[in-house]
Amino acid sequence: MTSPPNPDGLLPLPVATFHILVAVADQDRHGYAIMQDVAARTDGALKLSPGTLYGSIRRMLEEGLIVELSERQRPDEDDERRRYYRITPFGRAAAQAEAARLATLLRQAKAVGLAPGRA
């Protein structure tokens, strides 16, 4: 029995990967929806281009962070087939590990006065 893969091996996650994981963490989304969600959350600072988006999606599929859903999730909303993506437990663990890493960094920055707020 092989041991479960360790998400720490993937850290630090590439920026695009982390944002995509955040986008599909609470609900399954298709490509364009992920793009819009990321853009909205970052106030337009990070606009994922199609090449970056699907390149990342492809790698995340290989690494097991997300899975593809073959059927339409929202038959009433869409008029055509779209591929939806869902986060996996491993992907969730990886996103949590990355968030923890970022939180540690933020705490350290606050301690020396580089970030607003108290440590």
């Binding site: 364009y32 606009k47 281009s49 199609p50 090449g51 699907y54 390149g55 999606i57 779209r82 591929r83």
Partner: protein, 877 residues
């Protein structure tokens, strides 16, 4: 299906820039994305962003796929390490050898000379073809000056002459080579001194204070690059010269003097404009820089006209002398050196081809054994193009690994290579591994990889699924597969045949070269250059007395049988003066009134020391003194050329305007060509005119000593004798004459050795190749052979069957190879001596050898075939 707008169609086409896998998976979604964004954002901003995105991410995805393929390649090769190692070694040797040979060819032949605008540089000769001499004669000072006055085609002309310098600065006197050059050489070469000043025309005045310019290498070695050296004086041949400048290594004699010269000169003095010379005294080499718009042919025409005018103006000296111009890149090479290098490059390229054929067979076999794996992957959805790409990547990455190994090997052997190159090949010091060589190495590596990787990649990708999945991989192979292997074996054998023929011809040629009659006896002879110090012995009488004392003292040494002096010992470095001699009694029983010959000033016992046969008359002796009537001895060839008979005793020849009586005729000797080392062993003996050293005193001469014992044993005694007679003279560099003769054959010997090595490698690779293919064929035909044995075929007939298959292919290859060798033979005809390029004996012997070797390669698999157990074979396992 929604309507596709033009924009969408264009976008879909652009998506093909991504790897097929990627675009197959995501093109649909990306097009959907495109539609959504156009709807929400408008075309302009979307298209701008998309173009940027494509430019950025498409190459990234392609690289990522490539990286994946390379990782996969590494994994698959690790599964068959022996095969991988065999392929890598074979290719590495091929690439390494090719790179090494190419680095020599590039450094010596191809790289442009290190001067500004090097294509404008030319060398100018006096051309004596009209009178039977060659077109590469040295130039007399007066003719050179006339050319400078009259010729319009040149920006500048310069002349130079090699000099031996005895330098006495610290401790023992040292001998350094250099030249006397005209100041214009700086302009012709386009080189400025790195310290101090260049030579000027004023320095050339015979009355000017003596100055000298040193080469950078000497400046580093002897003076530690101290700039204060400029202004100091240095004693050269007993005379103090002021050092006025330091020049870089590129400042040197270029052109024909580089044939046979061991290295560049290190001291340069101005060429003294001593116009009281004879116009017929050809001593100088001349180089020039053509004017911008002047072509080589135009310059040649002009010089011919100028020379023709001078023939009329100076009939006594210039009759039948024209002028010839050649590029130094051509004139500095014996044409055979260029040919040898190119032939070797071709040969080593053929070895690489054979190596690639071997590796191709290996890889083909591997692809066949992987048919199952490939079929499964195809069934799982891998497209043929993708599989082919992966297979090609496997093979090319193997090739690249071999290439790196090969280039490393070549790089490590650079040093050894430079020592192997005979000193007689010019520019050998310019051989190095630089960007061009590495690019060449990379190119042949990739080309090899594609060459042997292409076919298996295509074949592997088209592997038909069903048979591969149901059977165990053996069984009927497609006929085209067999054709490839057969073709490779035929090609290998043919190429190997060609190389073996060539190597055999070169070997015979070398053997004949080394057996050629020399006309003298080199065994037991030592020779060295000796310069009489000018300052201590300023006039002819003093010089002669010094030389007489030297010879007398040397002959008293035990085991020295004879000692003599000669202008230049055959095959050893020296100066060889071309002269024109004229029969004084012209019109009275002579064939040609004049002939050109090489002049040799010799002492009385020189012929005995050198071992030259006296054919008629007498040698020089006590009666030939400085004041006595001038005498001369002719070589047999000269006598025949002048008088159509080998007897000339009593006749009179005019040399430099003075009459000489012929008192003897000696045998012809080789090694007295008008070049720095006397020409090669293959050159016919030149006509020689010998005059007495008593009557034509010469300062710098070659010493010839014949000894009983092994020459090396008496060198210390000779040295002591020298030191006793003249302590200010540097001890001459005594070498056995045999060594100089061996060195003159060094280049053909190297070519033959390398050609032999390449032929041997080709033969070995071909044997391995044939063995591999026949083994494989036997293993594929196990069932059939098992059946034959089961129904009663004898072992012999099985062996015969296998042999027949192999030998048919090999014979086809040998036949093609012989035809190829026949047609290509004229390419190496220029390198051969004493053997024809289409020598039937050699061809026949090669064919037999190749057939024998091929039969041997087939024997082991054939014997293995006889041990097939029919029961196991018939089980079809």
């Amino acid at each position: 299906m929604a309507d596709r707008t033009i924009g969408e169609r264009v976008y879909r086409k652009l998506l093909r820039l991504y790897p097929r896998d990627f675009s197959d998976d995501y093109a649909h979604e990306m097009t959907q994305l495109y539609r959504d964004r156009i709807r929400d954002e408008g075309p302009t901003s979307v298209w701008l962003a998309l173009v940027a995105d494509l430019a950025r991410t498409a190459p990234r995805e392609q690289l990522s796929t490539l990286a994946q393929d390379v990782r996969h390649a590494r994994r698959t090769w690790r599964r068959t390490p022996v095969l991988a190692l065999a392929a890598i070694l074979t290719l590495a040797l091929g690439v390494g050898a090719n790179t090494a040979v190419f680095s020599v060819v590039h450094g010596v032949l191809l790289r442009p000379l290190p001067y500004p605008d090097p294509d404008r540089l030319v060398e100018v000769f006096e051309d004596n073809s009209r009178a039977g001499g060659g077109p590469f004669f040295r130039v007399s000072l007066l003719n050179y000056l006339s050319w400078v006055e009259r010729a319009q085609s040149f920006e500048a002309l310069a002349a130079f002459n090699g000099r031996d310098f005895t330098v006495t600065e610290h401790g023992d006197p040292e001998r350094i080579f250099g030249s006397a050059v005209t100041a214009s050489l700086f302009k012709v070469l386009g080189i400025a001194p790195i310290v101090g000043r260049a030579l000027t025309a004023e320095d050339e005045n015979p009355a000017a204070a003596p100055v000298a310019v040193l080469a950078e290498s000497l400046w580093s070695r002897a003076f530690g690059r101290d700039p204060a050296v400029v202004g100091r004086t240095i004693t050269l041949n007993g005379l103090r010269h002021q050092i006025v400048g330091i020049v870089p290594t590129a400042f040197r004699e270029i052109g024909r003097t580089q044939i046979g010269s061991a290295g560049a000169g290190q001291i340069f003095i101005p060429l003294s404009m001593d116009t009281a010379q004879n116009r017929g005294n050809h001593t100088l080499r001349v180089v020039g820089r053509l004017r911008q718009q002047v072509t080589l042919d135009q310059a040649r025409d002009e010089m011919r006209r100028v020379a023709a005018g001078m023939q009329n103006e100076f009939p006594t000296t210039n009759r039948n002398w024209s002028a010839w111009i050649e590029r130094p890149q051509r004139s500095m090479f014996d044409p055979r050196v260029r040919l040898s290098l190119l032939v070797l490059l071709g040969a080593v390229g053929v070895v690489l081809l054979i190596a690639c054929a071997n590796v191709a067979n290996l890889v083909l076999a591997r692809a066949t054994s992987r048919r199952r794996e490939l079929a499964v992957r195809a069934a799982l959805g891998a497209r043929p193009a993708r599989l082919a790409r992966q297979l090609l990547t496997e093979n090319v990455s193997l090739a690249l690994v071999s290439g790196v190994c090969g280039l490393t090997m070549a790089g490590l052997s650079m040093q050894a290579l430079r020592t192997l190159i005979p000193a007689t090949i010019p520019r050998a010091d310019e051989i190095r591994l630089d960007g061009t060589i590495l690019a060449f190495g990379l190119f042949i590596t990739t080309a090899s990889g594609v060459f042997f990787g292409m076919a298996p990649a295509i074949r592997g990708a088209r592997a038909s699924l069903l048979p591969a999945l149901t059977q165990n991989g053996k069984g009927a192979i497609g006929p085209s597969h067999h054709l490839w292997r057969r073709g490779l074996v035929v090609a290998q054998t043919g190429l190997a045949t060609m190389l073996v023929v060539m190597a055999a011809l070169l070997l015979q040629s070398l053997v004949r070269l080394q057996q050629v009659p020399l006309g003298f006896e080199p065994v037991g002879v030592l020779t060295a250059r000796v310069s009489t110090p000018q300052v201590k012995y300023p006039d002819a009488a003093a010089m002669l007395e010094f030389q007489r004392t030297l010879l007398r003292s040397l002959e008293t040494l035990p085991s020295v049988r004879a000692a003599g002096l000669i202008t230049s010992t055959p095959f050893a470095p020296g100066v060889r003066r071309g002269v024109t001699v004229r029969d004084r009694a012209a019109g009275g029983g002579s064939l040609e009134p004049s002939a050109s010959a090489v002049e040799q000033v010799v002492s009385a016992r020189l012929f005995r020391a050198l071992g030259v046969t006296l054919l008629a008359g007498r040698e020089f002796g006590a009666q030939d003194q400085p004041g006595s009537p001038l005498v001369a001895i002719v070589s047999e060839g000269l006598a025949r050329r002048l008088w159509a008979s080998s007897d000339g005793i009593g006749r009179a020849l005019e040399l430099d305007g003075r009459g000489h009586e012929i008192v003897g005729v000696v045998g012809d000797t080789r090694g007295t060509d008008g070049t720095a080392r006397g020409g090669g062993l293959d050159r016919d003996p030149q006509p020689v005119l010998y005059v007495s050293s008593e009557q034509h005193p010469q300062g710098t001469v070659s010493l010839v000593i014949r000894a009983d014992a092994t020459p090396q044993a008496i060198v210390p005694a000779i040295r002591t004798a020298f030191r006793e007679i003249e302590p200010t003279l540097p001890i001459p560099d005594l070498r056995p004459l045999d060594e100089w003769i061996a060195e003159s054959a060094a280049q053909p010997r190297l070519t033959t050795t390398l050609a032999g090595a390449f032929a041997g490698a080709a033969l070995f690779l071909t044997v391995v190749g044939i063995y591999g293919v026949i083994s494989y064929t036997v293993s594929q035909r196990t069932q059939e052979l098992g059946v034959r044995i089961a129904i009663g075929a004898s072992r012999i007939s099985v062996v015969g069957l296998v042999l027949r298959t192999g030998m048919t292919w090999a014979s086809a290859g040998i036949a093609l190879g012989l035809v190829g060798a026949w047609s290509a033979s004229r390419l190496i005809a220029g390198l051969l001596f004493g053997v024809s390029a289409t020598d039937s004996f050699t061809f026949a012997l090669t064919a037999l050898a190749l057939a024998g070797v091929a039969a041997l390669a087939c024997t082991v698999p054939a014997l293995r075939a006889t041990r097939i157990d029919p029961v196991i074979a018939l089980r079809g396992d």
